[in-house]
């Protein structure tokens, strides 16, 4: 029995990918070749920008674009030095998906949504998830719009219940 229900989820619709499988942005692992390989295989690759500076981030994005024409994303861990500059590069390059973590990402949500980009907020508990949701509210003021563009990540065993929000779970 062929069942397509599993493959077609809100995540695949949201990001325009074949399978609801996402490569998390892991330093030294989620490098351009790896990101492109995952996106080419039907998932969503997320570039790890942690070990890169702004210029290297731009080069990495261009390298991925030379390897795939599928959607891919990049992460921005806002706690690290230079993170804002890197996030600006990602916004300038109009990445399909930006995954921010460890900081206040409301401005990323706002600017990414402006060009049609999607934002993943990495959260580890329900309080963070709620805060991330509020960034979307600030921007859109429309529940339906936020539901389709803001995403929360369920990390390990934390109980995060976000009604009507698509979520991705990462485990390692």
């Amino acid at each position: 029995m062929e069942n397509f229900l599993f493959i077609k989820t809100r995540i695949t619709e949201l990001f325009g990918i074949k399978y609801p499988i996402i490569l998390s942005g892991m330093s030294w692992i989620s490098v351009p070749k790896m990101v492109a390989a995952v996106s080419n295989a039907g998932g969503l690759g997320i570039l790890a920008t942690g070990p890169l500076n702004a210029e290297q981030t731009r080069r990495a994005v261009k390298e991925i674009r030379s390897l795939t024409d599928k959607p891919f994303g990049a992460n921005a861990s806002l706690l690290f030095p230079g993170a804002a500059e890197k996030a600006k590069v990602l916004l300038e390059e109009r990445l399909s998906v930006i995954n921010f973590a460890l900081g206040k990402g409301d401005w990323i949500v706002k600017q990414a949504h402006a060009y049609g980009g999607k934002v993943i907020a990495t959260v580890v508990n329900a309080r963070h998830a709620k805060r991330a949701q509020e960034y979307g509210f600030q921007r859109a003021g429309n529940r339906q719009t936020i539901g389709s563009t803001l995403l929360q990540i369920i990390y390990r065993g934390y109980d995060i219940r976000m009604e009507k929000r698509p979520a991705v779970s990462f485990y390692g």
Partner: protein
């Protein structure tokens, strides 16, 4: 240093490890590099390509879904 001596020392260790980690993860040289691993490592028995792994995961998920469908229908 703002976050305390212990954290600063840990960060310094981490910074030194960066090169060694890259040698193992990006270049695949596990003789000279350091490979960060998790508990799942014991369950790995093959080294498929990304494309092979994706197809395998999806096939297994579909199989499991059909099994559940059969049980509940």
């Amino acid at each position: 240093m703002i976050s305390g001596w212990k954290n600063a020392r840990q960060l310094a260790f981490m910074a030194n490890a960066f090169k060694a980690i890259r040698i193992a993860t990006e270049n695949g040289d596990i003789d000279h590099g350091v490979l960060p691993v998790g508990q799942v490592t014991g369950l790995l028995h093959d080294e498929p390509t990304v494309a092979e792994l994706m197809e395998k995961m999806v096939a297994q998920a579909k199989q499991q879904q059909e099994k559940l469908n059969d049980q509940f229908s």
